[in-house]
């Protein structure tokens, strides 16, 4: 417990150093776009594949379970949309990104720590935490909500494709359900969640990488800790945000 509190304190102290004005804004923006490509653009393929597949699966499962003739098949589209926007496209995608992006960040920064590259920056007088971590947090927090939107549309497309291939319900029923009782606020809610989750993933992974010790084994262990802690933090944050925004 004491160790956990010490780590929490160390995390906030690191964030205090990270959130300072960059030494050179030109270098910050350069790194911002490099990280946006690495953390967000490179995540598009995995997010796209999973979203298409999950959208299709939700449609099949919902349609199979809606056997009651009183309930309109239109609800398949409605339930697919609500499942995707409320939970899947933010929380599930964030958990996947915690694995992919989190391990990438913590192992990258961790190996820089172990090979003294961070010490080299510090000796030059460069605020290494600010230079290495701030662009990662900023780019993921700003662009990942767009990734969530993309995931949402691809999930719906996955549902549409499975309907086109199997004819499990009609396309008209599906599109009617998609438009039924649509609340734009849910999109905002999901984007806010994704922004918070992205902050958690990048900052927690950076923290574990930045304080990695013990050679290559230490880098591996920091990477594992980063994924576990950020995944649990995402679930706790999910509860808190849902309570605040939907209750």
């Amino acid at each position: 417990m004491k160790k956990a509190l010490e780590q929490l304190g160390q995390y906030f102290l690191l964030m205090k150093v990270v959130f300072t004005k960059p030494d050179k804004s030109k270098l910050f923006w350069k790194q911002f776009f490099v990280d946006a490509e690495k953390l967000v653009l490179n995540s598009i393929p995995i997010v796209a594949v999973i979203s298409l597949a999950i959208g299709a699966v939700i449609v099949i499962q919902t349609a199979t379970n809606l056997e009651n003739p009183i309930i309109s098949k239109m609800y398949v589209g409605y339930m697919a949309r609500e499942s995707l926007v409320l939970e899947f496209c933010s929380t599930m995608i964030a958990l996947i990104l915690a694995g992919k992006v989190g391990s990438n960040i913590s192992s990258e920064i961790g190996s820089m720590r172990i090979s003294e590259q961070i010490d080299a920056m510090e000796i030059m007088g460069v605020n290494s935490a600010n230079y290495l971590i701030l662009p990662k947090i900023a780019s993921a927090t700003i662009f990942n909500p767009l990734l969530m939107l993309m995931s949402f549309f691809l999930g719906l497309l996955g549902g549409a494709l499975i309907i086109a291939f199997t004819g499990i319900i009609t396309m008209h029923q599906y599109t009617e359900g998609l438009q039924f009782a649509f609340q734009f606020y849910y999109i905002v809610y999901s984007m806010v969640k994704m922004a918070v989750f992205s902050f958690i993933i990048t900052s927690v992974a950076s923290y574990y990488g930045y304080y990695a010790t013990g050679g290559s084994l230490g880098v591996g262990s920091s990477s594992t800790k980063a994924i576990v802690v950020s995944s649990v933090s995402i679930l706790i944050a999910n509860l808190a945000i849902t309570q605040i925004m939907l209750n």
Binding site: D23, K24, L27, S111, M112, S115, E116, Q117, D119, A120, E122, I123, M124, G125, V126
Partner: protein, 251 residues
């Protein structure tokens, strides 16, 4: 000039450095020698501020470095170059970008001026046509040279080298030593080298400090290191089989 007075450093219960008092002068290659685990690297890292010392003072000319805030230390750090044991070149950057890195942060030079400086530094360390290579594409010796080029990119007043010869063959080691020595004298830099390589001691040791179990036991230079009269230093100097044979032959 760098002056250290009454420096002490603990890690937990263990005291790693005991009352270190030493002065390093410009234009000299000052060597910190000692066995592995003697506290050399801790001393070097304390001098550059990577380790916070428990007590004592570290003076860079007339500025007490260890009393400065993080922000004020930055001004001194712009005058420091450091060569790390593993070179510590940035994996994500080419040789040119590595050397440019401190210039990008601390100068307003144009790209052409930076490139000229990069090429000058590379020429100074006898490297050509390596601008666009990544550190992983270089040999160990070349990485050390690029490390030196990056360290001198902003004309430092102080140069710190942590075991510059580790992992290098004897010939390349001598070349790296000579290069550091030449640069030190040419630009009147205060150079502090942490090593346990006796070839370096005999080649470039203008000033030598021997550390044993965290204590500074002996100070001198390459001319009197072999007749120091310090038992622990003798054990260190004549540790290798070749050195012992030479000693017995001479005796």
């Amino acid at each position: 000039m760098i002056k250290v007075t009454d420096l002490n450093k603990h890690f937990g219960e263990q005291q790693v450095l005991h009352n270190i008092n030493i002065t390093y002068n410009p234009g000299e290659c000052s060597l910190i020698i000692g066995a592995s685990g003697s506290g050399k690297t801790v001393l070097l890292k304390s001098l550059v501020g990577l380790h916070k010392i428990d007590s004592g003072e570290i003076w860079y000319n007339n500025i007490q470095f260890n009393a400065l805030s993080f922000k004020d230390k930055k001004e001194i750090r712009k005058e420091i170059g450091m060569l790390f044991q593993g070179s510590a070149l940035f994996d994500f950057a080419t040789v040119e970008e590595n050397i440019k890195f401190p210039m990008d942060f601390f100068t307003n030079w144009s790209n052409k001026e930076k490139l000229n400086r990069v090429n000058f530094c590379l020429e100074r360390v006898d490297l050509k046509n390596v601008n666009n290579l990544l550190p992983s594409e270089l040999s160990g010796g070349m990485q050390k040279r690029v490390g030196i080029a990056r360290a001198i990119a902003l004309n430092p007043k102080y140069l710190f080298c942590d075991e510059p010869n580790s992992g290098l063959d004897p010939q390349t080691s001598i070349l790296i030593d000579q290069l550091i020595s030449e640069i030190t004298k040419e630009y009147n830099i205060t150079t502090i080298i942490n090593t346990h390589d006796m070839n370096s001691v005999m080649e470039i040791g203008d000033h030598i400090g021997f550390i044993h179990k965290g204590h500074l036991l002996w100070e001198g230079n390459m001319d009197n290191v072999l007749k120091s009269g310090c038992k622990e230093l003798d054990n260190f100097v004549f540790a290798s089989g070749m050195a012992r044979k030479l000693k017995s032959t001479i005796q």
